[in-house]
């Protein structure tokens, strides 16, 4: 099965979802995670539409969590990275590391 190539923001969203785990990854937490770790502002609207796109491609699946008072009694839509999604993350990060590794003086910056 061919691996779906990822755009940069799609990769960040998937990495954040993997980092947060299937019980904590949803739009708000993913946006916060990316903003916190990359130091750049993230629009939740972008995260929302990216998740929709990834779901349409079969790279993530979603399920509803429990109702939360801080969400006005609404549940979170939790994100689970699927096996194809994980394969895409691996392929994309490998490609980046391979390419970056060939550039002198850059390896230290690509952690």
């Amino acid at each position: 099965m061919p691996v779906e190539p990822l755009a940069e923001f799609e990769l960040l969203v998937l990495l954040a979802a993997l980092h947060l785990g299937s019980d904590e990854a949803y739009t708000v937490s993913i946006a916060d995670d990316i903003a916190e770790r990359t130091g750049r502002p993230v629009r939740r609207a972008n995260v929302f539409t990216t998740l929709q796109r990834l779901e349409a491609k079969g790279l993530v699946s979603t399920r509803l969590g429990e109702s939360r008072p801080e969400r006005g009694g609404r549940p979170r839509r939790l994100v689970v990275v699927t096996a194809p999604g994980l394969a895409s993350v691996r392929a994309t990060t490998n490609a980046i590391q391979t390419m970056a590794g060939r550039v002198k003086g850059l390896s230290g910056d690509t952690r």
Partner: protein, 890 residues
Amino acid sequence: MKPRRLISALLRRIASPDRVADVLGDLEEAHRRRVERHGRFVAWLLTMLEGLDMTLAIARLRVPRPRVSWLDVKLGVRMLRRYPGLTAVAGLALGFAIAIGALTFEVVTQALHPTLPLAHGDRLVGFRLWNAETGREVTPTAADLETWRTELRSVEHVSAFRSFERNLITPDGQSAAIFVAEMSAAAFEAVAIPALAGRNIIPSDETPGAPDVLVIGFDVWQERFGGAPDVVGRIARLGAAPVTIVGVMPEGFAFPIAHEAWTPLRLEAAGQARRDSPPVGFIFGRLSPGASLASAQAEVAVVGARVAREFPDTHARVSPDVLPYVEALIDLPAIARMALHSTNLAAVLFLALVAGNVALLMFARTVSREAELAMRSALGASRGRIVTQLFVETLVLGLVSAVAGLGAAAVGMRWVFRVLEVAVDVGRWPFWLHDGLSPMTPMYAVVLAGLVALIAGAGPAFRVTGTAARWKAGAASGSTVRFGGIWTGVIVTQVALTVACLPLIVDVGLDTSRLRRFDLNLPADEFVTTRLVIPDDTPLPAGQENETTLRARFEAARRAMIAALVATPGVRSATYGSPPGDYVPIRWIDVEGPAQPARSPAGHRPQVAAVAPGFFDVFGGRIVAGRDFVAADARDDATAVVVNQSFVQEVLGGAAPIGRRLRFRHAGSGAPAESEAAPQPWLEIVGVVTDLPLAADPDRPDGAGVYTSVSASTLPIDLIVHAPEGLRFAPRLRAIAARVDPALRVSTISTLGDLVRTETRFYAFWFRLSLVVVGILLLLSLSGIYAVVSFTVSRRTREIGIRLALGADRLRLLSEVLATPMLRVVIGATTGAAAITMLPLLDAGYVAPWLMGVIAGSAALVVAVSVLACAVPIRRALRIQPTEALRAAE
């Protein structure tokens, strides 16, 4: 209102309930955090913005991404062939509308954003000085030129020019006025165009006391010197001053505006220049390599501030600006700019109107393909896909029309130039204006084609595919698609426009026909006419520089001209006055004592011409009562007027005219403005002359004419010479003028026949253009009505068939089918007739009975032709068989 509630309302329109819950949950969570951090107000604001952002993002997800394939394009081409009638009507209308749009865009582009056809045209800049105190522009002086030339680094080749018109008298004695630029040598370096023969103006020519030199343009070289290869070095006279021709510029060179020859601009030496020195006209230059308009403006501002400090008496409130060359040279008023933009907008709206009508036809066609579209939908084509296909089909039609429209616009541009040359006597055009199309115009035409496709393709497609859900549910037949209010409006507007335009075209047609029959009753091509003037800027001998001297000189030249002409073999007579067949004003008058009632309630409005003593004799006129003008009538305060026999009949009712008095109601010839509304002095009728032809203007209300005497101070003045050799006499006329006074300027020489033919051509042009416009409007209206009726019949096939089978009355059935479309036609026709009736009412206060007849006839004609347009669908309706109707229902 809580932001979540507003966002929720928006979201529910575009997203599924579970997605709405997701987004609202996210917003709620983020909002609570914000309230803790920023307080309620800021949190409200931020959450509202984020909510809108989310809504837009989701909306974007829902917009189908257009996927255009070659198949769509091929299908579009096939549709053009499959519906030839629709292709012809829509293509013609759209082509015309796009031509109008492209033409308007070209005119606006050339007027507002011209491209200079020079190697460094985009880097030429001009300087303007503004006085902040008076709010007016200040003419720069030689000192300003010197300052900017020596101090500016961001602008190089800083130059100036002044314009004047002067007679160029060639060695063979021929004299004709040319438009000369007194220009800095540096200007030739700024434009970087070398002379074709000889040399340009060089810096040493600018030195006071240097030999007088002249560089001539290509046309002057060809026309005045016959393209003589040895023209360089010849000596000619510019007015009275001898000049040596040192160079010939290449064909088409007319820098700085529309100049035909160039002399050096001689100014005082730098050290002697004063702040109050004479003006230098216009200063310009070229941006230095690496400099921009902004950097030049910054540098000029610094220099301007320093000059203001050093010369506070003259420059304290004066600040300089650097602008693109044409913008600096021609200060187009804001109202003119707005008018140009409005014209462009009007052209786009006209295209939208035409596209709206084509949409009507497309809609009817799309509905007729409903089964095909339903099939495609059932096979999985999305609504976006079908809309894209219909959009591309119309785009193909739009692009084909754009190509035709561009061709028409290219022809139209040449027409516009020719018409303007005739209508406003432009003479020579500024060198950056051209009668072709700029590279941007084809791109604009493509944009217009896209607009057409949106209105006429995507619009109907969205409407028809709105039934997609029904198609998917298997209800492909019996569509409930109907014509909407917009298209009703389109039809009504077009019928109204057609009815309004028909009387105009009849009027223009009658005018053209009258003009073709206009006869001067004399051998018009034996009479040559020209305008004489001694320009204000003519150098006079020292100590005589005043206007009185100039006028006295002109008056002497006028008398000498007539004397010299009548003494010339081959000349039968010569006089001054308004040339018969040329424009003369019509003016409102008041008559003392009893007068005939005028056709217009506002009063009598005869034609008014100024003539010299002996004018009537030249044209075979005869004084039938009183006397002709005499020399004493040429005084500025003279009150004598001569009227023609038509005036005596139409205005005075045949009563004895001599000694009666009349006065012009106001100074101008148009509607009275406040400033010129004061009645003019009373004038006394001293003579009656037989009717002579006046203006070749078919709009004149009657043949009544009033002649005033040309005054001694009239400047310029029209000269008319009866010379049987016609235009061949022109060179001798110029030579005589040059002998009488080298400064006497002779403008274009033409025959009276030429004047009338020019006027006739002008009207014929408008007639043809009006015919095309009205023809297209009529065609569109009729095709629109046809589409409506045809559509109605096809929608009601089953009902009509069954009712016919059950013995329904055919006439009643017909009236039902036709009621709605014909109501639209009648509303449109009534509106158009009412609108066009208002025009003469507002202008002259009454509507001529013949015009009322034409308006009523136009309305009746459009209604009648509309009924005819319904003939084909009506015939189809009446032939519907019950079996056919039942099959359609299956």
